[in-house]
Amino acid sequence: MGLALLVIIWLITFFSTYFFVAQTWWLPHGTATAAAFIDHQFALTYILMGIVFVAAQGALGYLVWKYRDGGSNRPVEYSHGNTKLELIWTTLTAVLFIGLNLMGSHVWASERFEPAGPGSVPVEVTGMQFAWYFRYPGADGKFGRTEPKLMDPSAGNEAAVGLDTTDPASKDDVVTGTMYLPVNRQVDLTLRAVDVIHSFFVPSFRFKQDAVPGLAIHMHFTPTEIGEYEIACAELCGLGHYKMHGMVHVVGQEDFDKWLAAREAEKQ
């Protein structure tokens, strides 16, 4: 049975590790500035944890085989432990775990402790059961007022977010069901939710943030490649959670300006 255990444990370890190393199913190609560091930190973590994984499972399999009771009178080492060894591996583990965490912390700080820089593209994302709406503030750079009383998804995009058309700042606000962004410019995102918690998740950007009713959460990211990327809601929001889907189109600056101008024109 010792041998059987060794074989089973080692095979499980082998197959698990193989698919990690081969990256058969992996993080999608990263297309935002954060992706490089996040992927680097991910790789570091998974290599270190992978080594521990293989070592621990390997040791377990080996030990149960090597020290099986084979009927011989090999003496058992009567030992209650080894304090020095305990201290050594405790310290090493603490250094490994906490060190790993501290290494990733500056990226977290830069993403989250600091607001978006000047010149970033402001976009407001509003989540509701079960769609995403995107609002651009237009030439005045200000988002107009929204009123819960005015919310009516059946009456178009502006009405869905309850845009108050009496507010002068609302006149140039553009609300769409698809998100367009210019490449290589930081996006100053404001996340809102109308009914329950949703989460704005774009795997390619390595971006995720919950949209919470009662809060307007500011985040930023910078897309780096032109393309189309899917948005998947990442917080259970009701029966339509699985189909609360959206698209982000990252285009050149000129195309973005043209698109925005076209949307503004449609409003007239």
Binding site: F143, R145, T146, E147, P148, G162, G214, L215, A216
Partner: protein, 246 residues
């Protein structure tokens, strides 16, 4: 179905080998009864330990409600109209005089509960003396501290009810504002626990009327009195929170 050993061990009066003896933890006789009951001193200590542990969990309930209160009080809410965060905490106009009277009632009830506890402790201590032939300490009943505690406790609860009516008259209902929700919730949670204490006190009073052994009565009254004191201190904490952090 599972099989369990159903041998019945007849309790032996002596401490010979065939009797049913629960583990005795070093020292302490078994109160003169060799039939397997832990002695009542042990029993009392065990119940006090149990009470202390149980009160830890009650404390956690109120700690969580208190921290929710404090956080909510300081929490800004996002106002759609202005697009900014504003504080929307409305201090509740508490009926202070009424609440002070209730607090006094509860304080007195804690006092009377303590007198009841000490009274029965004395009675239990003197119980062995009673069994000496020819010795009489007179009738057992002293001042009805226990009954008075029940009356004062019920007085407190009625006073709380009146305080709720007063709050309603001032326009503060359960759902009026976050602050009023907490006031009702905290006082209700405390009142419910106190009501439980009242019911146990009534049980203790009944047990005394039914002439159960005084050691057993002492255990019930002792543990309940400590619970009662905790409820009083808890009320002071809640009152202080609602008044000074309103």
């Amino acid at each position: 179905m599972a099989t369990f050993s159903s041998t019945i061990r007849v309790p032996q009066a002596d401490k010979g080998g065939g009797g049913t003896h629960p583990p005795v933890r070093g020292g302490g006789g078994d109160g003169g009864r060799g039939d397997g009951y832990p002695d009542y001193g042990q029993r009392l200590r065990r119940l006090r330990v149990g009470l202390a542990i149980g009160l830890t969990s009650v404390t956690m309930i109120f700690v969580s409600l208190t921290s929710a209160y404090i956080v909510r009080r300081g929490l800004p809410t996002f106002d759609d109209h202005t697009g900014t965060y504003t504080r929307d905490w409305i201090p509740v106009q508490l009926p202070l005089a009424l609440l002070l009277i209730n607090t006094a009632l509860l304080a007195f009830s804690s006092l009377t509960a303590e007198f009841a506890r000490r009274q029965i402790t004395r009675q239990a201590a003197l119980a062995p003396v009673q069994s000496i032939p020819g010795v009489s300490l007179g009738r057992e009943s002293g001042f009805p501290w226990l009954a008075l505690t029940v009356v004062l406790g019920l007085g407190f609860l009625s006073g709380q009810w009146l305080a709720w009516r007063e709050l309603a008259d001032r326009g503060f209902y359960l759902a009026t504002s976050a602050s009023s929700s907490f006031v009702y919730l905290l006082t209700a949670a405390h009142g419910l626990h106190l009501l439980g204490g009242v019911m146990v006190l009534l049980y203790a009073a009944t047990v005394s009327l039914l002439h159960r052994p005084v050691e057993r009565r002492r255990i019930v009254v002792d543990v309940t009195a400590w619970y009662w004191h905790f409820m009083f201190v808890l009320w002071l904490g809640i009152f202080a929170l609602l008044w000074f952090v309103r």
